[in-house]
């Protein structure tokens, strides 16, 4: 900016005083930026904003269900709220926040000056923001999507066969167009990650030396690239059904509603791993630093991530065990689901081995990382239970599954996101987050999440179906529902503490210095926050812990380990 000369795209006033161009104003700089760090921060801010939106939707759901015969929400509004809760959390919180961390951290970690395609990077962010606003704006028209985040046909068709009641209004259109916009954002982002990671690594950083977070972002990007087209195609077909008069999912003239389910879940299951793999990556960065040890079994963690990526494309029909597939097909999908649990177990054991005989520092980031292991284990165990097909017949579409996804996505991904934010916040801002408030937040989140989601296992066992807007008082579900609702508000307090801590630390946070954690990877080998160009000199990498090598040359990894 400052190096521009007058006459080159800069306006001067008659007095000769140079007036700022739009891109030099504070707002203009954010809007026009192509810097991966600013874009990363915008992803994070957008993601956390929608986290609050989705969280308020969750609190409405739990308020309605706190008591039997709840009257807080009408059934139509409830269906909109639970649909948008799932959609918001998955598409507008988890994916953007993970992309935000990836955008900010990956180029720094691999010693690059920016992403490979900076302008496409900005494009991806703005598509996300407008897609998100578009989707949430449906509430203004009282036509928010109401068919569930899975948008099953024929309920999402304009009319369903001979039914009088499907989705005649625009509710489903908001969802179908909105997810398509978000899909474009994700595709451009993923392409950018793949090219950046393959082409812009610092000298010496072989694939085999990349930080594990970078590995997992790479796998996530490939999953998005191969999974999203399936959703986009399905959405396109459904839009054609709804507005052009085709019959892809309409039985009356030879279409098939199951086609939607196959297309949706061949996106939807890889999607689940899209939401968790980067979390695995963050945990694999944070545990070693606060255990003062390298990650245990780097190769196994990296390649088990790749294995999960491949296998995730073979398990989609485990969402469909109740649709009447042939027994042989069900046995196949039970087997593939069993297989995908193995690499997941391998990761957990490697994390435990990483902290074993370490020197554990209980920073808030580490607390959340350890909490992640404890909670994700539950999400893994009840997930493996769902692969037991006959048991699944009983608990699929019951609250047991709600418990499962929340142990994976809240106990797993959200805990990792909190860990990641406490870990990298000093890099983003140059300031430390308040550890004391952070510890309070951790305990509110940890207790709140178990009080909310553990009873849901039992509700499922007790026969409570999902997605019901209310329930009668004589089913034996009242106390457990009340417990879950109380837990949800405890979680809400935890999130408020988190937001307060961010704002407060931005204003009053202690100066962090460039490397507050004595960390191992390259993003800490530059100023906090980093300059536009990231590194004065591009570092040369000789092992998996380049910054450790630089700080401790006598005991550098490359002297003792060959990789």
């Amino acid at each position: 900016m400052a190096t521009r000369t007058i006459g080159e795209n800069v306006t001067t006033t008659t007095t000769g005083v140079r007036r700022k161009t739009f891109s030099e104003t504070y707002v203009g700089e954010w809007i026009t930026t192509t810097d991966h760090k600013m874009i990363g921060l915008m992803y994070l801010i957008t993601g956390f904003f929608f986290f609050v939106v989705g969280g308020m939707e969750a609190l409405l759901i739990r308020t309605q269900l706190a008591e039997p015969n709840g009257k807080v929400l009408s059934p139509d509004v409830y269906n909109q709220i639970f649909t948008m809760h799932g959609t918001t959390m998955i598409f507008l919180f988890v994916i953007p926040v993970l992309s935000g961390f990836g955008n900010y951290i990956v180029p720094l970690m691999i010693g690059a000056r920016d992403m490979a395609y900076p302008r496409m990077n900005a494009f991806g962010f703005w598509m996300l923001l407008f897609g998100g606003i578009f989707m949430q704006s449906s509430f203004i028209f009282n036509q928010a999507p109401n068919g569930g985040w899975f948008m099953y046909a024929p309920l999402s068709e304009i009319t369903a066969g001979h039914a009088y009641l499907a989705t005649p209004h625009m509710n489903a259109d908001f969802w179908l167009l909105g997810t398509t916009l978000l899909g474009i954002s994700s595709i451009s982002g993923s392409l950018n990650f793949v090219v950046t990671i393959f082409r812009l690594r610092a000298p010496g950083m072989s694939i085999n030396r990349m930080p594990l977070f970078t590995w997992m972002i790479l796998v996530m990007s490939f999953l998005l690239l191969f999974a999203l087209p399936s959703l986009t195609v399905a959405s396109g077909l459904l839009l054609l059904d709804r507005h052009v008069g085709t019959h892809f999912f309409d039985t009356a003239v030879g279409g098939d509603p199951l086609l939607w389910q196959h297309l949706f879940w061949s996106f939807g299951h890889p999607e689940v791993y899209i939401l968790i793999l980067p979390a695995f990556g963050m945990i694999s960065e944070i545990l070693p630093v606060f255990s003062r040890k390298p990650i245990f079994g780097y190769t196994f963690i990296a390649w088990s991530g790749v294995a999960i990526g491949f296998l995730s494309f073979t398990v989609w029909a485990h969402h469909m065990f109740a649709v009447g597939l042939p027994s042989v097909a069900q046995a196949f999908f039970a087997t593939s689901t069993t297989l995908i649990a193995i690499p997941t177990a391998v990761k957990i054991f490697n994390w435990l081995a990483t902290i074993w005989k370490g020197k554990i520092r209980f920073t808030v980031a580490m607390l959340f990382a350890l909490g992640f292991i404890a909670m994700f284990l539950i999400g893994g165990l009840n997930g493996a239970a769902l692969a037991v097909v006959p048991f699944d017949y009983q608990v699929t579409d019951s609250y047991f599954v709600v418990a499962h996804i929340h142990y994976v996505l809240f106990g797993g991904t959200a805990m990792a996101v909190f860990a990641g934010l406490y870990y990298w916040f000093p890099k983003f801002t140059g300031k430390l987050m308040n550890e004391k408030i952070g510890k309070w937040q951790f305990w509110f989140i940890f207790i709140g999440l178990n009080v909310t989601f553990f009873p849901m296992h039992i509700l499922g066992i007790f026969g409570m179906p999902r997605r019901v807007y209310t329930y009668p008082g004589n089913m034996g579900w009242n106390e457990l529902n009340l417990m879950a609702s109380i837990g949800a508000f405890v979680l809400g307090i935890g999130v408020l503490l988190f937001l307060f801590n961010i704002v407060n630390s931005l204003k009053n946070g202690e100066a962090a210095g460039d490397d507050p954690w004595d960390a191992y990877t390259l993003e800490w080998d530059t100023s906090s926050p980093p300059k536009k160009y990231n590194f004065l000199e591009i570092p040369v990498v000789r092992s998996r812990r380049p910054f450790y090598d630089k700080k401790y040359p006598e005991i550098a990894d490359w002297k003792s380990v060959i990789h």
Binding site: V346, V388, T396
Partner: protein, 381 residues
């Protein structure tokens, strides 16, 4: 009044105990809810329950082992003053092989049970039983209709079956996807337009078991319940022969006036055999062609009904997808305060208030009309 408070506290404590120890003790908590999948009353649900226990035992062992390892590490290896820097261990191939191998073995043991259980409850495993009763379960938005092809009768909300007999269910929907679930008797199978899904189950003891729709099917998905009533074979046969009759004639003048209102205002959507339709008929046959619901076939008086067939309404336990019970003993048609306790009267007075969004969009009835309709409908035993 101390006792209820005490028992309430006890109930909370019991539930809290279940939450804390559920992985081991869930069987003891199964009685808390009538629809618990652990209160099994038949072989299909029992086979599914066995797998639940297999899963719980394996998961509990893994859970305790791994969480124990984690918690031990957290306490044992926390940083203390003068802790030396740890040994920089990058990995160990033997350990990796070990903890790849052990989960693989455990998971494949689980897979063995999975596939064995799968084959036990699959449609192909249905026992060859000469007495098998076939029913057609039809999912509507948002209530269940049951048709017995062999006996040619139609009923709604309550599926009456003989105990100790194989029940074969054909699952049919002409609208959106629903899912048939009776937790005490069998897990779920979806009703998908265009797909001929079937399932089977057996009730081992007489009793009433709640069924629920388990696939999100629109506004009132939450109020789409039914009940399965298992009775002994004799009672079943006598129930069948009652149901095969045409509707009872109105017993008094109130009921006669009620019948007149029915013919006038209700018969567009509802059928009563002997009043506005001449016979029972298979809903699948008349609701699965392009003419659509509500269409009248010119040559017969049968058509695809929008609402439940009410021929023997008075013999049913539930109203409108289980949103209310049919408490006929509280329904005295001569009582001017009938709306106070009689659920049918409440339903007729305000169906959209009780179950918003349902198809029963009727004009406001007067109290007299409601009393007449109650007198008529509750008399249809």
């Amino acid at each position: 009044m101390r006792m209820p408070v005490f028992s309430r506290t006890k109930r909370w404590l019991a539930l809290l105990g279940c939450v804390l120890l559920s992985s081991i003790l869930l069987s003891a908590c199964g009685d808390e809810a009538s629809t618990s999948i652990l209160n099994t009353a038949g072989p299909v649900a029992a086979d599914e329950k066995v797998l639940f226990y297999v899963v719980v035992v394996l998961a509990a062992v893994i859970f305790l082992g791994v969480e124990g390892w984690l918690v031990y590490s957290i306490f044992r290896f926390r940083e203390r003053p003068n802790t030396p820097n740890p040994y920089q261990n990058h990995g160990n191939l033997f350990l990796e092989a070990l903890w790849t191998g052990i989960p693989t073995v455990v998971l494949f043991i689980l897979l063995f049970f999975t596939i064995r259980g799968l084959l036990q409850v699959a449609p192909e495993a249905q026992p060859k039983d000469a007495n098998t009763v076939t029913v057609e379960a039809v999912g509507h938005q948002w209530w269940w209709e049951f048709y017995y092809p062999k006996y040619n009768i139609t009923t709604a909300d309550t599926l009456v079956i003989p105990a100790h007999t194989t029940i074969h269910v054909d699952l049919f929907s002409n609208n959106v996807i629903h899912s048939f679930w009776v937790p005490n008797l069998t897990g779920k199978t979806d009703l998908i337009p265009g797909h001929d899904n079937t399932k089977w189950f057996i009730a081992d003891k007489n009793g009433t078991y709640t069924g629920l729709c388990a696939e999100f099917c629109g506004t009132q998905h939450g109020n789409m319940r039914f009940e399965v009533k298992a009775v002994n074979t004799d009672s079943f046969q006598s129930w069948i022969s009652t149901q095969q009759q045409t509707a009872a004639a109105p017993g008094n003048s109130l009921a006669q006036q009620g019948q007149a209102i029915f013919k006038n205002q209700c018969s567009t959507c509802h059928g009563i055999v002997g009043v506005d339709v001449t016979q029972f008929y298979n809903p699948q046959q008349f609701c699965n062609d392009s003419l659509g619901a509500g269409h009248n076939y010119p040559t017969t008086d049968v058509h695809c009904l929008i609402g439940p067939n009410l021929t023997h309404f008075g013999s049913r336990d539930l109203i409108a997808g289980g949103v209310l019970t049919n408490n006929s003993q509280a329904c005295n048609p001569t009582d001017p305060n009938i709306m106070k306790d009689c659920h049918l009267a409440q339903w007729l007075n305000d169906p959209q208030g009780i179950k918003p969004g349902n198809d029963m969009n009727i004009g406001q009835l007067t109290t007299d009309q409601i009393r007449q309709l109650v007198a008529y409908l509750e008399g249809l035993k």
